[in-house]
Symmetry: C2
Subunit: 321 residues, 2 copies
């Protein structure tokens, strides 16, 4: 049996579909894990189910009195207020005073933050950024988010909105409208949806044969494209190459903000790391200021894929204040 | 007589032409100030002169034993190493272990940082950012630099190169080559030299009458343009309006990094604050993500013009670690 290292924390990944909860030790071993569907009539019911499951899990693991705290990663969660603000992917109205609701039910210190910040602390605590004090985690999924750690500190900002790097605009995306009402945001290219936009464009302007042409347009997913690329489909490879190239150009600008030693990609789209990282490195090195060129490592998340989000959440109570 | 508030610090502004030194109290009153020409045969001689002048000044002010430390602002100075690295505007070869050299001569804790970071700490300690924890100071002078404070902490980065916002690239400058070897850097537009580039362009493409046409091209300075604008010259006003517009667009991207409550302009070019700030605010509000729109204040430096740099330096020993 794997030896476990106290203290223990509880991570909660509040996703649009499922809520995953886990007890994790101080080096990232999952002691126990459970989940339930997020869709409940109201947030109070959700919090009751969560509290019940956490209590059960602590009891079953014989860790009563050994839990340092609870960390919750949730869309649009704000670490400054402890609330979920204006989340569009959740079944309940915002704002939701999430930290208070969970803390009141379990009498354990509870911190919340958005998915990207949880990912950053997770990478620093158990993952690819272990031992680093300056790095950026880009979360590539439905949208693009970022957790920025500079001088050992996760940037929060006046109202907790630091690190919205998915909404920095770039010329390479100038003709892509974003859900935020503007155009050119990085997430219009580097999210799963952005990859589909690139795919549709390349499929229409090129006549190159591709296995992707056999999939109805409305059913095509970023995962299909990733699989096709891995199987050698050259048009699919080109889609990821373009995405990586854009990410590298973006990283060249981001480097000037915090002089990071690494940029880490995380999330669904980042699972195609071997397709994205080489063009990212290449575009970075061609575009970055000499001070940063050859000084930044590009890495894939070091958290185990399926449990990355809940591990990120579990790392939050371990964060130094 | 103005009452003075201990502790006292010494600020040193190491400029290309002059070195300015001052004793400053904890709220930014200058107790004594002196200067000498920077050009000395070697850095050792410079440090000897500085040490001699500082000792004199402390003795004359009767503050022996009351000095908390020395802060030095210098081009290309790195707070992480305490050295000047690859400065092109100084008469001596780099690197220069400046903090150690001064500390050894005066037995007082000595910190160095670049001009932009000194400006940021100065604004936080005695100036426009008093009481703020999240702001960006853009130093607009020969080049463009930035000092970024997030969550009360001045961003430093892996090797002290955080906040090089003058070298973030933008489409509005895509056709402007930068001294760094790339094109599109913010400083190709928002520095004194950038303003001259804009002036030359507008003077050549427009036939509008302007008092600037009476100044030989090689003698024209940003200050001339500022004076002409204040005197009502509409082409000169257009030059600053364009510059402010570009700064506002840049600020819209920078806001996504640290969620600042204010962006402060500092330095020679920023003295034209009343010409730059309205178009900055306007372009920011048209370009920023909704989260930041109407949430960021645009301010002019709160440090007294001529002494702003030495006050910034004097604030360094006051910085919380």
């Amino acid at each position: 049996m794997t030896p476990l290292y106290p203290p223990f924390t509880i991570g909660v990944d509040l996703g649009g579909t499922n809520t995953v909860l886990a007890i994790v030790d101080s080096v990232g071993h999952i002691v126990a894990i459970d989940s339930f569907p997020t869709a409940t009539p109201d947030i109070g019911t959700w919090a009751d189910i969560l509290a019940h499951k956490i209590k059960d899990m602590i009891r079953t693991s014989d860790l009563d009195g050994h839990i340092k705290g609870i960390g919750i990663g949730a869309p649009c969660a704000n670490a400054v207020t402890g609330s979920i603000e204006a989340a569009t992917d959740l079944p309940w109205p915002s704002p939701i005073p999430l930290a208070n609701m969970v803390q009141a039910r379990l009498q354990l210190p509870t911190v919340v933050t958005n998915d990207a910040n949880a990912a950053a602390i997770g990478e620093m605590t158990y993952g690819a950024a272990a031992g680093m004090k300056n790095f950026i985690v880009l979360t590539l999924g439905t949208g693009v988010g970022a957790g920025v750690v500079c001088d050992g500190h996760l940037l929060s900002g006046t109202r907790g909105f630091a690190g919205e790097l998915g909404h920095v605009t770039f010329p390479f995306a100038a003709d892509r409208p974003c859900g935020c009402g503007r155009s050119g945001c990085l997430q219009t290219v580097a999210s799963a949806k952005g990859i589909l936009t690139t795919a549709r464009h390349l499929l229409s302007v090129s006549s190159e044969p591709s296995s992707l042409r056999g999939i109805p347009e409305e059913k095509l997913t970023a995962k299909d494209i990733c699989e096709a690329a891995h199987a050698g489909d050259s048009l699919a490879k080109e889609i990821y190459e373009y995405t990586g190239h854009c990410l590298g150009k973006a990283a060249a600008e981001f480097a000037a903000l915090t002089d990071p030693e690494a940029i880490i990609i995380f999330g669904g789209v980042a699972n195609a790391g071997d397709l994205l990282l080489p063009p990212m490195r290449d575009a970075f090195s061609k575009n970055a200021l000499h001070l940063y060129r050859d000084r930044v490592r590009f890495l894939k998340s070091g958290l185990e894929g399926a449990n990355a989000a809940v591990l990120g959440a579990a790392s939050l109570p371990m964060m130094k204040r």
